[in-house]
Subunit: 440 residues, 2 copies
Amino acid sequence: MGEQIIKIGLVGFGTVGSGVAKIILESADAIAAKTGLRLKLACVVDTDTKTARPVKLPKGILTNDLDKLLKDDSIQIGIELVGGTKIAKQIQLKMLRAGKDVVTANKALLAEYGGELYKVAHENKRCIAFEASCAGGIPIVSGLRTGLAANNIAGIYGIVNGTCNYILSNMTSKNEDFSAALKKAQKLGYAEANPSLDINGGDSAHKLAILASIAFGCETALEDISVEGIEEISKEDIRYGGEMGYVLKLLAIGQKDDKGRISLRVHPSFISKDNSLARVNGPFNAVTVFGDAVGQVTYYGRGAGMMPTASAVVADIIDVALGNSATTFRHLNLKSRSETKRLIEKIGDSVSRFYIKVMCKDKPSVLAKIAKILGDNQISISGTLQHEGAGPDNTVPVVIATHLTRQKNVSAAVKELKKLDVVGAKPVCIRIVDIPEDKD
Amino acid sequence: MGEQIIKIGLVGFGTVGSGVAKIILESADAIAAKTGLRLKLACVVDTDTKTARPVKLPKGILTNDLDKLLKDDSIQIGIELVGGTKIAKQIQLKMLRAGKDVVTANKALLAEYGGELYKVAHENKRCIAFEASCAGGIPIVSGLRTGLAANNIAGIYGIVNGTCNYILSNMTSKNEDFSAALKKAQKLGYAEANPSLDINGGDSAHKLAILASIAFGCETALEDISVEGIEEISKEDIRYGGEMGYVLKLLAIGQKDDKGRISLRVHPSFISKDNSLARVNGPFNAVTVFGDAVGQVTYYGRGAGMMPTASAVVADIIDVALGNSATTFRHLNLKSRSETKRLIEKIGDSVSRFYIKVMCKDKPSVLAKIAKILGDNQISISGTLQHEGAGPDNTVPVVIATHLTRQKNVSAAVKELKKLDVVGAKPVCIRIVDIPEDKD
């Protein structure tokens, strides 16, 4: 079989863009041998055409003029790796309208404007491929779309932000403060200079919006997702939770119940130290999916970085070039926003177990007062932990683990706890998530 | 978009066949909603049309006449779930020649006659899809083919036989003998009445032949794979290895070095207790893949069973119906047998660390004699373990862990060790496999 030449235009020559160029230039022979497709980098567009990159491009293909890509009809596939939502959106729209299929790693853009972009793609009989947008090199998007396509998905539990996982891993294993762990992550390149979108859970929410839309077959939006970050996590809470058998992770959670109701949340989560996600450390990602036929499937790998993300981008290029992405994209029927909205569970109604820490003055009947407030709010206690000796403000931490309870009951209880004269700092509430284990 | 009707003929109405029928019958609406494809079970062929199955078929579709499937031109996809290599091969050939695409879980058939079947498929412009043939519900075939397509794969390390993993897990955690653990596995349905193909490593070798062909892009055959089973593993060896920090697993290993040389082996393997594969217990499967761009990716899930395997079969049906399997299949360029053969490393040349146990009479200078034989064969010792007190025949176990050494040197050394008058039973050799860990 003869080789088929696939011409590619790349927009955004940053870290991931350099990785993509590197694979296309260095692995073209190997990819051609395996697939019969010869990938050719025809054009690389970036506003900065001066700074040296870790890959040497063929002469004359680096430009700051997007039109060179748009007007070259021999270019079939446009890769958008600019990031952000404004310029990137315009670039994707222009590429689709110019008849190019689009490959992107831009989770923020898809989470916010996916519906609009998909519509334009369909109108122009083009496709958008986005394996690299979720969990970097881990092929979770194709896993959900094809490998697990026969399943009714009941749950997704993902560690999908390497920055947060690196910080929490260090706070856990090295007893570091949040700010020290964050500084280290920045020094090592695991966190941006402005890390807010990572640590406030926003990045995880972008990825969850994309994964949930495929897993549950509905057009999800960011507004459907309840988001809490890790900014207020203290190493003491990680330690107390650890003493109760839990490890703290920032989880992106999507659940669908028997009635089709969907719960989408990103929040710090205490999970059993025996769960496989508890052992995912440093900048790694992992996603556990539960399907009605397959049971549990867990994917583990690098969720970010130059080459892992480039691996996913180039996988998409191959899939688009083969025509498979177009077919899958065309056949991906998502429930509309209005239908989806009705299915989304309000966060106040969500049911979870909770870790509650109350800093109490060491006085008689403190525990009784706390227990009464919890009981009055229909919250049942599954365990408590109280160390001897006083902490700051002469208070001692009283830690309570609850049975399953509604979020709104806990919010109401915390409000009352704060008013107690024996309670010092603001109570801390962290969800305990019992990820089902598929066991025999 | 209107629904597209996909008519399916199923051959083999056993456990997995029943699972496939169940998904097609019960999840047709959900699959149609997600993909636009309405799967219709048109025909189920089995020699036994009497025995009750755990799924109720529509009237009139169960038959013992394969021609009903072959001659119905409205049936596009034929599923072969008969198993074995004789009749199954004829069925697949007939279906391909009758113009049906084929979906199968038959690893033995593909490992032995894959080349021949693929040729007939290409001649008839049909495809063969076989996600279910490896690691049951885990989408590892599509993962290697599409998700990791941009990578040069350097290694695959898989626990791909649930029977062996169940037996070894029980020998490890419950200190059971091999025969007791096997009996329990049979009682629970994790092992067949005749378990030999599982415990002798043959089943793992079938799966490795398939995975390696995709990962390394070459036509592999069973003769390329060196195979050892778990029949001679004793709980004592598992315990001594455990004391040295290792867990015993039956691994299917495919490695490619920088020069393109390929090593394919199935054997009991001591791996570090900290490696993620060490924590894969009971009937579960997991596969770790190393790609040059993506680094480490690990897949975990159920490797067998009615519904997990059916999940993979139906995923293939959907992929075939979308036309994606045909494209991928057509573009899968494998190096020919003659080219592949030259690349395969001889097992004697393979380099590994080793666990060597020698039962010695408790006499002076025993260790010196053993050490001399190892040294004479260029085998360097990395650790030893000797407990006090005598075992059977008044011998004591001396356990030695070696540095990297060639298989043939170890074989030569063992031959000499056997001749020593101070050595009792036959020495035990088990490979220690240092699976690379992708860490920062």
